[in-house]
Symmetry: C2
Subunit: 158 residues, 2 copies
């Protein structure tokens, strides 16, 4: 099949644009945030223009509600968006039911995580209600993508 | 059955002490807070000396995580306690899974509420994971007492 030069260029640029920032790019950013905060937990909220806000776990400083995901959701007014469902939340570890319920209340459309709650439970206490269960008991449909850079995220616990 | 004067007095004082601030006293305070915030949701965190901190829902002002229970837990450092399990959280409506998970992370020992999530679901969207289920999936034993002044709490939705 022949594709002319213009079409070639268009297709390549489109692919490059689509592939420019894959999920692993953002999860690696979440990992860097986790390390910055000296915890296993980093999170980003990203809009359709790939503008983003960041947070890490600050429970030692700010108390038990200051998980990375909660901290980033509390800043979401700083991000430019018209519909919350267009936002993606990236996090090094699957949101606990506190954070996942906050994601539901916030109406965020996609969640992408690295290690799972079951993974994290090998290193500390967890509430064993996974993110998809919270969504299934809500009024929303939220896309959940799991195990992106899982092994790198697991290394954060060690 | 004969009870002597001293025993009578002791029993009565004990009852009076126990009854001085029954659960309904605190739930009525939660109801007053809810009305103050012009939402159905008010909460208090109380220590063993009956010192307490208060909050109501401020989601309109502070975003989706600002439920009454979250707002009160974020202030818990202001309260005097040695063990978090001695604290009681009173709330006009059963904590949603975000708030109940926060209560677990905070290690609060008792939760007392008025209306249930099922009650509240008649008036708006809810995540249908009840407070006892969150506790059962955690590492903690938390006392949950429900339906205190339920009808007064339900009136807050009307």
């Amino acid at each position: 099949m022949h594709i002319n030069a213009y079409a070639d260029k268009y297709i390549i640029e489109h692919i490059l644009f689509m592939k420019e920032k894959p999920h692993s790019f953002w999860i690696q950013k979440a990992i860097a945030l986790a390390k910055q905060g000296q915890t296993p937990f980093g999170a980003l909220l990203v809009n359709t223009k790939d503008e983003f806000i960041t947070a890490y776990n600050t429970t030692k400083l700010n108390g038990p509600t200051a998980h990375a995901e909660m901290n980033v959701i509390r800043q979401m007014h700083l991000l430019d968006y018209t519909e919350t469902k267009t936002l993606r939340l990236y996090t090094s570890v699957e949101p606990c039911p506190m954070c996942m319920s906050a994601i539901v209340w916030a109406g965020i459309g996609s969640v992408i995580y690295g290690a799972s709650i079951d993974d994290a439970a090998k290193y500390g206490k967890q509430i064993h209600v996974n993110s998809s269960e919270i969504v299934s008991k809500s009024w929303l449909s939220i896309q959940i993508i799991h195990h992106i850079e899982r092994s790198l995220c697991l290394e954060l616990f060690e």
